[in-house]
Amino acid sequence: MIVPRIARHCLYFCILAAFLPQHAIAHGGVVDEGDLCVIKVNYLRAHFKIYQPGVSGHKQYCEDLPVAAESVFVMEYQHDSLSEMAIDFRIIRDVTGKGRFARIEDVAQIGDLQSATVYYQPAVIEPDVYTINYAFKEEGDFIGIVSAAHPETGKVYEAVFPFEVGFTGLGYWPFFIGLLVVIQLQYLLMSGRLKRWFGRRSPSAMGLVLGLLLFPLASYADDLVVTYTTPDGDPQINRMHSWILHIETDAGVEVEGAKVEVDGGMPKHNHGLPTKPRVTEELGGGDYKLDGVRFHMSGYWEIVVRVTTDSGTSIVTIPLQL
């Protein structure tokens, strides 16, 4: 009985695939990658999101927008070189007749791009994040065109993404997804695979998975010991102060002549140090003067010390509860 069931699944899938819009292919520019919406300008990537703050506050959209309203388009670069490129942003009414299947080639064939344009932000270099604000006056099909010019070669990279304003809802998507889930669950229950799948997860297998996850951390715990003293007294919140770092090997040999870089932050709060501390002087005997240290809140901090010597780089994390 199993073989016909699998065949039936393939059939369902083929039918579904024929119905579902082919986002990744048609949209060339913007791709919904699960929990992240990404715009690809050739090989350059940026996290892409659109807001309608006056209508739906912090709710973010990847492409289609529910209503014609003020809309804020945000591109957060995942590729540093976008910070140095002049980027322009154009929104046109979809005059290609291709709807969400419109591509760069279709846009290139538009004779009068200007008259189709509803919004244009001329090329500007915007470090870190690029934003525009356009209030749509009417619903309909639109195409966004983002161009980025390479500062040295002058080559222009483009992304084109068709989208709909006044997007009426999710269409048949929830129905198809629901159907798929029901069919899949029915298959798993009938075939007994679900039970077998759970039964197979033994503690040793879980241990192996956990071990693999933790493995990268083990590389930090190497042969250097970094301790610190604070000549200006105990660290106090909101006060710039200095540390003396003492670095030695596990065997107690002082490490001299190393390049020492320091960073850190509060892992629970997803932020770094408020300052950029720097080793300003090697004091000898494995001691290094670290200036410009400041903490701006109490709680758990981690100071990450990166020590580079002829024999390689070691990273040591110093935990600190303030």
Partner: protein, 390 residues
């Protein structure tokens, strides 16, 4: 069952008793106490920072509407003493409309950074920027120095503090900039005197330190005391609003929504670039510190981690509206925003959702009102203002 249900309902309905403070909590309360505010450190970049004569000269300049393109704008147009040195508007209105909400001046002498995005590193360099901003005073340095030179009283004050004014017909850029910077230094000497005073909260902490329970309940309602406990505990407020001024003067992204018609404000990530390049910063030749001790600039953090990060404002003397563009109208809106902690439009929200109840939010709000207190500012100021207006 009924008894248990009634008991649970009762606990939720009737206010719980006011807190008796643990040793750790008392330590936090003392850290927020105005009595714990350290003495203001000298400002070596401003040689007249603590000169009373400079503060007096600066006070006159602060209220002088002639320091503007249309003769109608002074520093006090937006920094209104009676409103805690802000203006009650979303965005500041002077000659034009500015990008952001008017920040208070109270206690800012303690801050290493000025403006919401910290794009200046001293009170005196901050004071210069609005003078030349076309949306604010709309004037320029030559006009400012000419005004000082043309007013006998100002000229006398200036020359007794800083020496001879340059001849404007023959002044080089450095001489003109020095005179302009000196005007900022006089204004800063006045602004340095604007400090918060003892609030009901500070009296309450004194009562806690004295273990005077009667005085505590006299000063704080149960809700205010419970709100304070949440403020220093479950609501995580003191992560940023710490110290006697209720601010760490650092930069945080808390995902405040963009202002209608604007793109989201990049804030500190741009502000830090601007302060590092500012012609009047701590490293500049206009600083009076011969040693150029500029550790704030030297160790300033830059980079994408600062996208959308604004300087924590003090919570003493709260005045609506709130946030960098006055986006939130009431304290209840602010508390709800932090309770939800939405994703940021740009950058990352550092705050996490709190999951507090409506009642708990109201208690925190009740506590925050106990921080109101008059600002230490001489009444002479308002007299000068009316004189200038005449």
């Amino acid at each position: 069952m009924i008894v248990v249900a009634t008991a649970i309902a009762a606990c939720q309905w009737w206010p719980s008793s006011p807190p008796s403070w643990t040793g750790d909590e008392v330590a936090v309360l003392k850290s927020l106490w105005l009595a714990s505010l350290p003495e203001l450190s000298p400002d070596p970049s401003n040689a007249v920072a603590d000169e009373p004569a400079a503060a007096e000269f600066g006070r006159k300049l602060f209220f002088d509407m002639r320091l503007s393109a249309n003769g109608g704008i002074s520093c006090a147009t937006c920094h209104q003493a009676e409103r805690g040195f802000t203006d009650g508007l979303q965005k500041a209105q002077a000659i034009g409309t500015t990008k952001r909400h008017t920040p208070s001046i109270v206690g800012t002498a303690y801050s290493p950074w000025q403006f919401w995005d910290g794009r200046r590193d001293s009170q005196w360099s901050q004071a210069l920027a609005p003078l030349e901003d076309p949306n604010e005073h709309g004037t320029n340095r030559a006009q400012v120095v000419a005004l000082v030179a043309g007013d006998n009283d100002y000229r006398a004050s200036y020359e007794s503090l800083f020496g001879k004014l340059p001849d404007l017909n023959d002044a080089d850029t450095f001489a003109l900039n020095t005179a302009f910077a000196n005007v900022g230094k006089a204004i800063a000497a006045f602004e340095r005197t604007i400090m918060p005073t003892t609030s009901r909260f500070d009296e309450y902490v004194a009562a806690v330190v004295d273990r005077d329970a009667d005085r505590q309940s006299e000063l704080f309602s149960d809700d205010e005391a419970l709100g304070l406990r949440l403020f220093i505990g479950a609501a995580n407020c003191t992560q940023c609003h710490n110290g006697p001024l209720f601010t760490n003067f650092e930069f945080h992204n808390t995902a405040v929504i963009s202002f209608p018609g604007d793109v989201p404000d990049k804030a500190r990530v741009s502000g830090v670039i601007e302060v590092l390049a500012d012609e009047f910063n701590c490293f500049s030749p206009y600083s009076d510190d011969p040693l150029r001790h500029c550790s704030e600039l030297e160790f300033a953090r830059t980079g994408a981690g600062l996208i959308g990060a604004f300087k924590t404002p003090s919570l003493r003397n709260l005045a609506a509206p709130f946030m960098h563009q006055g986006q939130l109208t009431t304290l209840a809106d602010v508390l709800e925003h932090y309770n939800n902690a939405p994703d940021a439009m740009i950058g990352h929200n550092e705050a996490k959702p709190l999951g507090l109840s409506k009642r708990e939010l109201r208690q925190i709000e009740a506590f925050l009102t106990t921080l109101e207190a008059p600002v230490a500012e001489s009444p002479a100021a308002t007299q000068i203002e009316s004189k200038q207006a005449d």
